[in-house]
Subunit: 188 residues, 2 copies
């Protein structure tokens, strides 16, 4: 926020429901409006929905891509998402879904890197679904509060996952790349 | 590069093979060395390999995550990678592989968003492999020179893909999110 010009009006939003209304109101007053968000607006973010709604009303939108937690959080925890001869495919899903129905476990590949964003509230359901598709002894990196000062990373077996209680925000990374953390993580 | 202090020595590398040697040499001279790259070093980049090699030799490394072409190029072309009720899963693979063997088409999900980085040189092989897993009439966004001034985006059917000749760098985005481009792309 410190980069904003002194002439900018800064509005903090308490919930996402009001964001389209606030964007519309100030745009229609002829203002240049910036909605600044964590992460990337088009990777499990609300960017698509916001832009589609506004454009249908004739309000121009432009999306500036950001650094998604999908790559930044594993990187900070010492986990590359791909690595020669270890993983050449990344699959990304989220535990927070529109309408409440979880992603289709049948579509999850049996091998390769799997990133699950925000698994916290559906952890038991996610663990159960994953065990049907992946090796129950496979290593899972559980990253809580990734990149924050109080980040916590645990390596557990997939079958042990359901017993955990996670701090928010959290992320799971599953696949053989997880083992590279032991070599790549920089103790600070 | 304009952010570098005047006291920095700037070295341009012509090929990736020399990068580990250059990093090692200057690190062992006690310098702080930054390897500045396009995109994210841990998403189909050489970051993992570089860090693993240097750390095995006792040289500390830290990875600063970047904005990957995986999300920035589709965003700039007006394509969100996920969208409520349209796609809740992203799969990412690359046409450039270590050792020459392409990713396993059997692992590609039949639905959801599929991003294929650098398909150019293997386009015929990729098209053929994909048609075995996905609907041949499915829309594919072919993004050539994404985010550059001479960016070109074409929407074709999967079965038409093999006929194309692509400029480098290129990317394919496959799945129903591709159709959103018609509503979200900002003509500039």
């Amino acid at each position: 926020m410190s980069y904003a010009k002194p002439s900018c009006k800064i509005i903090y939003l308490n919930n996402d429901d009001e964001e389209i209304d606030v964007l519309r109101k100030h745009s229609l007053e002829g203002k240049l409006v910036v909605r600044l968000k964590n992460g990337d607006p088009y990777v499990f973010g609300r960017g698509g929905k916001i832009c589609l709604t506004l454009k249908e009303e004739g309000i121009e939108c432009e999306v500036i891509p950001g650094v998604s937690s999908v790559n930044s959080v594993p990187a900070y925890a010492g986990i590359p998402l791909t690595f020669p001869k270890i993983s050449d495919m990344i699959t990304i899903v989220s535990g927070i879904t529109d309408g409440g129905k979880l992603f289709d476990f049948q579509k999850i590949p049996e091998k390769g890197t799997l990133v699950i964003l925000m698994p916290g509230k559906r952890l038991e359901e996610i663990s159960k679904g994953l065990i049907a598709k992946r090796n129950p002894s496979e290593k899972v990196a559980v990253i809580e509060r990734g990149t924050y000062i109080d980040q916590r990373v645990s390596l557990v077996k997939l079958k042990e996952l359901s017993e955990l209680k996670l701090s928010s925000p959290s992320m799971l990374v599953i696949g053989d790349v997880v083992k590279l953390r032991n070599f790549l993580w920089k103790l600070s």
